[in-house]
């Protein structure tokens, strides 16, 4: 990789210098247009800052003109690994390794130079974080209603070709997008200390917690199965976004289209159901009343937080889809070239009507983007010292089981026809909620990318499917190869 592209890159943070594509790299397109970045990275940054402010108060390390928690280099979105590692140190018992295992595929965590919270500060943060998590339910319910109203507004504005309606949609979407990303950040951040607490407590109560944990932390119902009923069509129904790229709003045009590959959408399969009692239910009975109640309550909180994380993400994607549908119409209403808007940020686009000169920035930015897209960007990036370097190799780490169970089946890819008479293992580089409709037809999931809290890990647990992530073998597997995966140990065998 080379140096910066001033027109599109952000300034690297002066103290938190190590970035990782991490969770974004698993599911988001490898490159995002400036418009998509401004709808993803910037509100996510605001949401994370809001969380830090609400939990720890005004902290110098989480403020300033630089992006603290996100990065955008060579059109690639990154999380600031140093900042998240530092954030983890502000809570009791939480280590940076817990964050990297949960969201960054176990990559080595960078050292932190910034000051840590005092013990008192760490302890005081806990009830505040609990309060934030407790607010999630009402927040998500409110957002669900508001996003539905916004979709209706956008639908009407597009139908009537109403410039005022389209403008109102974009303006109203801004606050909702901030709130939805903020809720997503609360769930994402909150899951790490919750699972650390759960591990610590259950180690004492259960003895062999590591073995039992994946059976316990299963969300009961995720939002995706509901949304997939509304997939397809062009009426801006809640599930319409499922036919599009999750993060890229300009996914139907070059140069962004190749980065925004979607899996095929099929009629929805249901979660594997059987009359057999779930192992988690069996575990409660083995514990007795008091211990069972403690373990069950905590597992329910973790499961609900996982479900809230997926819910908040679905709201974000619906809001991005509103932009995907509205922005071209609004650009046309303002007599602007249709190819122009993906190169602007949403803030610039909102000012476009009043400041037509903004459009003149686009040619230079387009050239910078073309140059950036020709430059390979690493998974993990060290920007300390002013010279960009690769932080850690891009190879998958040790394969990890993220949803328990063992299954043997033939390799299928998302775009294949699935055989009906043999068990199938869905094999893909990474997987997002868009594979949810496929999960009812397969018997296990194997991915090259992924972490303990990846979306595919949560989905596989909901569907009771064994899942292994971070497997380097994935590239070598061909359709109809027979593999056995063990979602408990992370072992993968290629059968003869």
């Amino acid at each position: 990789m080379t140096g910066r592209f001033p027109e599109i890159d952000i300034d690297p943070h002066p103290r938190f210098g190590v970035y990782s594509a991490g969770n974004l790299g698993e599911v988001a397109p490898q490159r995002l247009s400036p418009m998509s970045w401004s709808l993803v990275g910037t509100p996510m940054e605001r949401g994370t800052r809001r969380l830090v402010r609400n939990v720890w108060g005004e902290r110098a390390w989480a403020q300033g003109d630089h992006y603290v928690f996100l990065g955008y280099f060579g059109c690639r979105p990154y999380h600031n690994l140093s900042a998240y590692a530092h954030l983890s140190r502000q809570l009791p018992r939480v280590r940076p390794e817990d964050v990297t295992a949960a969201y960054f595929e176990g990559v080595e965590s960078p050292p932190s130079a910034a000051a840590r919270e005092s013990r008192l500060g760490k302890a005081a943060a806990v009830p505040r974080l609990v309060r934030e998590l407790g607010r999630l339910g009402p927040t998500l319910r409110r957002l669900e209603e508001d996003v539905y109203v916004l979709e209706s507004l956008a639908r009407t504005a597009i139908t009537l070709r109403s410039e005022a309606g389209l403008t109102e949609t974009v303006l109203k979407a801004a606050d909702l997008l901030d709130d939805a990303w903020a809720a997503h950040i609360v769930t994402t951040t909150g899951l790490v200390p919750l699972t650390v607490l759960q591990r610590s407590l259950n180690d004492r109560v259960l003895g062999r917690y590591g073995e039992v944990e994946p059976y316990l932390n299963r969300p009961r119902e995720l939002v995706w199965s509901r949304l997939h009923r509304f997939a397809g069509g062009d009426d801006l129904l809640p599930g319409e976004f499922l036919d599009s790229s999750f993060y890229e709003v300009a996914d139907d045009r070059l140069p962004w289209q190749p980065y925004a590959v979607r899996h095929r959408v099929v009629a929805e399969g249901t979660a594997h159901s059987s009359g057999v009692l779930d192992p988690a239910e069996a575990q409660w009975g083995m514990l007795g009343k008091t211990r069972g109640r403690i373990v069950k309550s905590l597992a329910r909180v973790v499961g609900e937080t996982m479900a809230s994380r997926e819910h908040s993400k679905s709201l974000v994607m619906r809001l991005l889809h509103v932009h995907r549908r509205v922005l071209p119409h609004l650009a046309a209403a303002w007599n602007t070239d249709d190819d122009l808007w993906p190169y602007l940020t949403i803030e610039e686009f909102r000012r476009l009507y009043r400041e037509p000169g903004l459009a003149e920035r686009v040619p230079a930015r387009r050239a910078a983007v073309e140059s950036a897209l020709r430059t390979p960007m690493p998974e993990h990036l060290d920007m300390t010292g002013g010279v960009p370097r690769v932080w850690a190799d891009d190879l998958p780490k040790k394969a990890r089981g993220v949803s328990p169970g063992k299954v043997t089946g033939v390799v299928v890819h998302a775009e294949d026809d699935f055989p009906e008479d043999v068990p199938c293992i869905l094999v893909c580089e990474s997987a997002d909620a868009d594979v949810a409709p496929l999960l009812g037809y397969v018997d296990g999931v194997l991915t090259q990318r992924g972490s303990d809290m990846s979306h595919i890990a949560i989905l596989a647990r909901e569907y009771h499917l064994p899942a292994v992530v971070g497997c380097a073998l994935v590239k070598e597997l061909k359709p109809n190869d027979m593999v056995t995966i063990n979602g408990t140990t992370g072992e993968v065998y290629v059968e003869q």
Binding site: V212, S274, A282, M286, G405, K406
Partner: protein, 329 residues
């Protein structure tokens, strides 16, 4: 008839192989070790796809097998969920898949356990499996899970057999081990420690003789499979206290059995220090209420146990090769 015995090198598996070969059947005993007390030994693994078999060996076996008997999985009350589900969920799924690929299959005989009832409340019989019970350990859940999977396989001709804890000298002459199951209490009792059993242990143990269990398996192989569930245990229905006394008698020891909740709590506190498996303590109360008529469905009536099989078990544990798991002996 060609019978494939899965887990043929185990305690029950050996007895089943001897019984089936004695009845004139072709027996193939599949196990990880590949050893066989009778019939042909075959190395395989039920937790692997196609039972760990490949190519011609797999094809020939599937072509010839008429009966599959599943007696795999050791009695391990301390196993975790991964181990229990690996054997009893993955293993049974593999067996079901293998059985579906056998064109001559006449019956799948699945050996389950009465412990699949866990702490079931109310009277239970052959018809019931899940009645809202709690499970004491992952072994019980594993046995329940396996039986539930077999019952769901309505496309296969199967018979489910339920046994209680199996005892008795090994008919193949192998040394016994006292590491798991009820026998794990023996070293503890022999050391003279008091043991708490509700009602002084005067509740049914549902134990049976391993040879009698093998006779039931042979009967299931001979009888057309209709998806029935059979239950068998020692018709004399010895109590837990009686079993313990008879196991200890060859040693000249009378076990100190008391009905004292305090002793029970102390036992639980010091269990790991005195080598007593904690899982065993969960069986100190009556297990479940089993319908006495469950054995009426056995064709020809329930087989009897070998006379003195309980004392014989104790004597077998006296043998130098017996494994008492590092007890004072």
């Amino acid at each position: 008839m060609s019978v494939l015995v899965l887990g043929g090198s185990g305690y029950l598996g050996r007895a089943v192989c001897l019984e089936l070969e004695g009845a004139g059947l072709d027996v193939v005993a599949l196990s990880r070790s590949g050893s066989a007390a009778a019939g042909r030994g075959l190395r395989g693994d039920v937790t692997r796809h196609n039972l760990g078999l490949f190519g011609d060996e797999l094809a020939e076996l599937q072509a010839e097998v008429t009966h599959v008997v599943g007696v795999f999985g050791s009695v391990d009350w301390d196993s975790g969920p991964a181990q229990a589900l690996d054997v009893h969920a993955t293993g049974v799924r593999n067996v079901l898949r293998f059985s579906r690929a056998c064109p001559k299959l006449e019956a799948l005989v699945h050996v389950s356990s009465l412990l699949a009832f866990g702490r079931a409340e109310g009277r239970v019989g052959n018809r019931e499996l899940y009645v809202g019970q709690d499970f004491r350990n992952w072994y019980e859940y594993g046995k329940y899970h396996a039986e539930a999977l077999v019952r769901e396989a309505e496309d296969l001709p199967f018979t489910v057999l339920r046994f209680g804890p199996l005892l008795g000298p090994d008919p193949a002459g192998h040394a016994l081990g006292a590491g798991d199951g009820l026998l794990a209490a023996v070293p503890y009792l022999l050391q003279g420690y008091p043991v708490h059993l509700k009602h002084g242990g005067r509740f049914p143990s549902y134990v049976g003789d391993v040879v009698g269990a093998a006779e039931v398996v042979a009967a299931a192989v001979r009888t057309p499979a209709t998806g029935a569930t059979w239950t068998w245990f020692d018709p004399a229905l010895p109590t837990v206290a009686e079993v313990m006394h008879r196991l200890c008698r060859p040693w000249g020891v009378v076990p100190k059995i008391v009905d004292s909740a305090v002793v029970g709590r102390v036992q639980r506190l010091v269990a790991s220090r005195i080598g007593l498996p904690k899982a065993l303590l969960d069986y100190a109360e009556p297990w479940f209420d089993l319908d006495p008529s469950v054995m009426d469905t056995l064709p020809g009536g329930p087989p009897a146990c070998r006379p003195g099989y309980l004392a014989g078990t104790g004597r077998a544990l006296l043998e130098p090769e017996a494994d008492l798991q590092g007890s004072f002996t």
